[in-house]
Subunit: 168 residues, 2 copies
Amino acid sequence: MEDTFSLSGVKVAMTPMARFEEFLRSRGKRITQQRRTILEQVFSHHEHFDAENLLAELAHEGKANGKVSRPTVYRTLGELVDAGLLRKMSLNNRSVYEHDYGYPQHDHLHCEKCNQLFEFQSNEVSSIRDNVARQRNFRVTGHRLIITGICGDCMKSKSPPSRRLEMV
Amino acid sequence: MEDTFSLSGVKVAMTPMARFEEFLRSRGKRITQQRRTILEQVFSHHEHFDAENLLAELAHEGKANGKVSRPTVYRTLGELVDAGLLRKMSLNNRSVYEHDYGYPQHDHLHCEKCNQLFEFQSNEVSSIRDNVARQRNFRVTGHRLIITGICGDCMKSKSPPSRRLEMV
DNA sequence: ATAGTTGCAAATTCTTTGCAAGCCA
DNA sequence: TGGCTTGCAAAGAATTTGCAACTAT
């Protein structure tokens, strides 16, 4: 294995784009301009985001490619999850996405004040997970650990107006 | 301390009702029949539930007390969380509740097939949590660990019709 | 009497779907 | 060409809100 990409810790054999194309082909789906635009935008930075954020980014950045409609964004996000490129989590009753492909397994600290997510790694969590699952005869596909509280910055500032539900 | 209640492991000084009443009084709120009915129903069994489940239970069980409207159920669930009687979690983009008062800290296994939640206890998780938080200068208020996968029962049955989003 | 509550209806927010027109293989 | 896609408008699902009537204190 010679050509590998290191997006941030994990070596992978293909670019997200190549992998998405492979996924699409394997499902008899098509490689459209919209899907390309979305994939590109999604992997242009590592922050967590939701459908609305992404839609706004696509609209704002007068991408030469042009805009993408809301339904298409939702549909494509689902495909990116199925393709193993993104991970989805439910936060405050809405879907928040993060890079999965090319990034190592990690968990999160969630500030209730500013709503930001901070990542951290711990393989202890995975081993606890596997032990519990073994005892319970449960076939694990993954886990989600979110530590909630107040981040350092928010503790300093007395009462920051807390960015309501933005998380980018 | 003599009169204590053991709902399932943790000793507490008051019944959920007494505690809720205290909470309400401390906020200048009133002890109404609706709030009483809801509290009673919520603590009549230990399963996880969402607003819709609760509403259905209240309607079904021809409670002599009478029905409670949807908005009131939503409003009261929020109060029960504020009062420390319930814990809320976001699952599949909707709010799921579980007993908090009188029950020990625990985490969950979530079957993606039947959507059921199974509890397990592990204080290792809490210690990992505290260590991470200390390093990151983060003030912890709690955590949520959900292990996802397929439960034993679902692995046996080939393709159980998976109870869609029910979790009671 | 007074201020907090309730229920109804309507509004919101996030996400999904039906379908005709459009585009990729 | 044929079938997958897209965008629009509308539908859905979960939750919240305005407000007049009601009730606990």
